[in-house]
């Protein structure tokens, strides 16, 4: 009940301000496009760099978008209402994470193969990149939301959020980019993909509780 209500509210709000969905996607594409300009357009070099470049860009795009996850609700007071409600905060937070993934994670997932192609990744590697970003972005959003919850009431949110959250992103980056490199070299990938899936499930189960605790701390009760 509270899950679907929160989910539809989030989606509706985003639908009315579509620019906020598009912006992280543009950011993602632009950051990736800077690398061939800055490094070199040589295909073999780009193919080596591609997994890391796409992942770092996706990670930063998620991080920047997640900063505003609770800010609007905090400023208009909706968050206070949610905190004083007798229901547990876990379910609405989970719904917000899912909504945020649909709105910003999914576009990144759909864009990743195209960027992989532009960076001259081989076809099997592009397929694995797609699956890896699909499994990795929910983890990124869930971990970022913990940082967003802790910094929601602070004025200097953005850069502080990156300091808090970027170290937590290391495992996703290592496995996510590593598995694409494996695929490019023709090595088996299912084990690492399973690890990414495990991290996604664990973070989706545990992070909402931490986010709820963080929101309670930030609102001072």
């Amino acid at each position: 009940m509270s899950f679907s209500a929160t989910l539809s509210r989030e989606l509706l709000l985003a639908w009315r301000r579509p620019a906020e969905i598009i912006n992280p996607l543009f950011f993602f594409v632009m950051v990736v496009a800077l690398f061939p300009l800055g490094v070199s357009p040589r295909p073999e070099l780009l193919a080596t760099l591609a997994p890391g470049v796409v992942w770092v860009a996706a990670l930063l795009a998620v991080l920047l978008s997640v900063d505003g996850l609770f800010r609007a609700d905090h400023e208009c007071g909706a968050l206070e209402q949610l905190l004083t409600a007798p229901q547990s905060l876990y379910i609405p937070v989970l719904a917000k994470l899912v909504a945020h993934w649909i709105l910003t994670g999914l576009p990144l997932v759909l864009m990743a193969p195209l960027l992989g192609y532009m960076l001259h990744l081989s076809e099997p590697a592009i397929a694995v990149l797609f699956v890896a970003v699909l499994l990795g972005t929910p983890t990124l959003i869930a971990l970022g939301a913990i940082g967003a919850a802790l910094t929601v009431s602070l004025r200097s949110g953005g850069i502080l959020l990156s300091l808090l959250v970027l170290p937590l992103y290391v495992p996703v980056l290592v496995f996510g980019a590593g598995v694409v490199t494996y695929a490019a070299n023709g090595l088996p990938v299912s084990g690492v993909l399973a690890l990414l899936a495990a991290m996604m499930l664990a973070s989706l189960v545990l992070a909402p509780a931490a986010v709820a605790a963080g929101l309670r701390i930030s609102s001072g009760n």
């Binding site: 971990l143 913990i146 940082g147 802790l150 910094t151 602070l154 200097s156 502080l160 300091l163 808090l164 970027l166 170290p167 937590l168 290391v170 495992p171 290592v174 496995f175 590593g178 991290m199 545990l206 931490a210 605790a213 963080g214 701390i217 930030s218 001072g220």
Partner: protein, 247 residues
């Protein structure tokens, strides 16, 4: 019976006034002891332990490197535990401890990184190598910086303490995953010399001074944290009766 005494003592330590009295009793003998043990371990290790047959004298930096690295790791775990305690019991003392541990832990992580770089030059031929252990220590250092940045950013000290505790708790879960992910990623570092289970690969003439300097660094860490916690406590409780009675 013992359990009851322990829980009582635990909850008493959560009271700032009791904690302050406790540190009054402990500190005067703990700090000389910590200095003595650290000095013993370091002098023993640096001057009297036998030379390594492969690395010669350069291995001796292990007597600083390993204690600092393990102290940094232990400090972060302690912060996570304090964060958990604070989430469950909302103890003021846990918040104070988190704030007190963070800078010293970060310094220990920095010492481990710097000594690692110095050790890396003669043995691996490079100051910095993207090796698994060095990298995870670097990430641990970043995690410490994150906790410190969060504490600095939140004006209300109680809120800052609780927020930092939650972050440290999340970080502790993450540190384990970071360690394994980075090891899977790339490793050049020698395997663990010290093992809790199984045989260590170090002769006792080297192992004993190493353990002594580790104990010394842990105690120095504890003393510094206690001292800082006392200062923080006095500041936070400056308006309460028991602080005014102190002078």
């Amino acid at each position: 019976m013992i359990w009851n005494t322990l829980t009582r003592w635990y909850h008493q330590l959560g009271s700032p006034r009791y904690f302050y009295r406790f540190s009054d009793i402990v500190l005067p003998w703990l700090w000389p002891l910590a200095l003595l043990i650290t000095a013993t371990g370091l002098v023993w290790g640096l001057a009297f332990a036998p030379e390594d047959y492969q690395q010669g004298n350069s291995y001796r930096i292990i007597f600083i490197h390993v204690p600092a690295a393990s102290g940094a790791l232990l400090g972060y775990v302690a912060m996570g535990v304090a964060g958990l305690v604070n989430l469950v019991w909302r103890m003021k003392m846990a918040e104070v401890m988190i704030k007190a541990i963070a800078p010293f832990g970060a310094v220990l992580a920095a010492i481990a990184l710097i000594t690692g770089a110095i050790w890396g030059k003669p043995t691996w031929g490079t100051w910095w190598e993207w090796d698994a252990r060095l990298t995870s220590m670097l990430i641990l250092f970043f995690l410490y910086l994150g906790v410190m940045a969060l504490i600095n950013a939140i004006p209300d000290p109680r809120q800052a303490g609780r927020a930092a505790g939650l972050l440290a708790l999340v970080g502790v879960i993450n540190v384990v995953i970071v360690k394994y992910s980075v090891e899977w990623w790339h490793s050049l570092h020698q395997g663990s010399t010290l093992k809790l289970v199984g045989k260590t690969s170090m002769p006792p003439e080297m192992l004993t001074p190493l353990l002594v300097s580790m104990l010394g660094i842990y105690l120095l860490f504890a003393v510094s944290v206690l001292w800082r916690a006392r200062a923080e406590l006095l500041w936070r409780e400056r308006k309460s009766g028991w602080v005014k009675e102190l002078h």
